[in-house]
Symmetry: C2
């Protein structure tokens, strides 16, 4: 589906579907890498441990991608999903906050590989200025606006303490950045045209704790046999 | 609801609900901290930008928590959710892989605060051994099994390269760990009684990229006015 054919309707998509799009793309790129040319909705869904009906429902928002009963062409689907997600071209990304977490993200090769090259890193700590991370020097926060405008930064990753996050957000927004990936454990105020995603580590580990507790309950109820609630991989 | 009253039924809960439980707990603890004693389902749902019906549906799995039409007692709900999630007592956690990401997680105060004290950190890199992170020394991977058993580690955080992840998983499972928080970009094989949660950074940033793209489409369709698709905070 050419970009010009997409209408606003393809943006009226439930959040749960938006979360699954990258998983589909990741799996399809794996298949592509090992030379698979076609995949059915059932095969693709099974490989991701979801229902085929869910997958087809998700794809339906974007036109379905294939005739009913016909498999998907892996290459075409990869191209379409990259376009839909917006990684058909690099998405210039900046990291604000070069502490442990910011450096971990800057060092993570997957970001560049998936289409999010780190084009700038900022911090206020004078000891970090000039430190090179994968070829990017840590810059002073005061340079944020001109550097972000020059690099055309689209996504700002916020890895500063909660107390500094809103100020950083204000600067990124003033610099024309419209997507914020927030790791600071705080809410943020943004204008209507800016999108925010909160990455909450504690949510993940708590969800896991719930599953672990359920697993233990199942085992003790069954007399210490491995529980029926299979761990997912 | 006392722990002894919980039956296995409360573990037959959709993943989407499990993901929201920590968000409810986090918000309720905030309310508790500022002295709020009662909150209605509508107020709580609005504060989290979700539908009140969704919230009530989620809580229904666990017995509902209040009489219809009556608000929730914040303190009681916090206690109940902590128990359900499994953070009514500390959940001893270990980090395997003391690189940038592992150190970032070990340094993150929120983990301990939310009930996941880091009781052990492991690595294979001789330069990292003995490095103290918030009072925890980095230990040799060979000590993993005895240390994890001694500390009663329940959750293992995996922050090693993809190529090492499965071996680390095997060791953690052999050490009696039943919950794995995986940051390595690879699938893992685990026995049925072990729960795994994959933290995929690229999923988050891609979901954000989709929203950014939709925002830009909306603005260009509306003639460069801020789009109707409000950014969420």
């Amino acid at each position: 589906m050419a970009s010009s054919e997409r209408n606003l309707q393809t943006c009226e998509v439930p959040d749960a579907t938006v979360q699954r799009l990258p998983l589909y793309l990741e799996k399809l790129k794996l298949l592509q890498a090992i030379g698979v040319e076609d995949v059915s909705s059932r095969q693709l869904a099974e490989s991701l441990d979801i229902k085929a009906s869910q997958l087809r429902h998700d794809f339906h928002y974007f036109g379905g991608f294939s005739r009913p009963g016909r498999p998907y062409r892996v290459e075409k689907l990869v191209t379409a999903l990259e376009q839909i997600i917006g990684v058909d071209r690099p998405v210039p990304t900046a990291i604000v906050g070069a502490g442990h977490l910011g450096q971990a993200l800057a060092n993570y090769p997957g970001l560049q590989l998936q289409g999010f090259p780190i084009r700038a890193i900022f911090d206020v700590n004078p000891k970090l200025l000039g430190l090179e991370i994968r070829g990017q020097p840590v810059r002073d926060l005061d340079d944020l606006e001109p550097v972000c405008r020059r690099e055309g930064i689209k996504i700002g990753v916020i890895t500063v303490p909660a107390s500094s996050a809103q100020e950083v957000v204000n600067r990124l927004v003033a610099a024309g950045v419209t997507g914020l990936l927030n790791f600071a454990p705080t809410e943020l105020k943004v204008p209507g045209h800016v999108s925010v995603r909160h990455e909450r580590l504690t949510v993940g580990i708590m969800a896991l704790s719930f599953k672990v507790k359920c697993g233990a309950l199942a085992r003790s109820a069954a007399g210490n046999e491995p529980g029926p609630l299979a761990g997912s991989a």
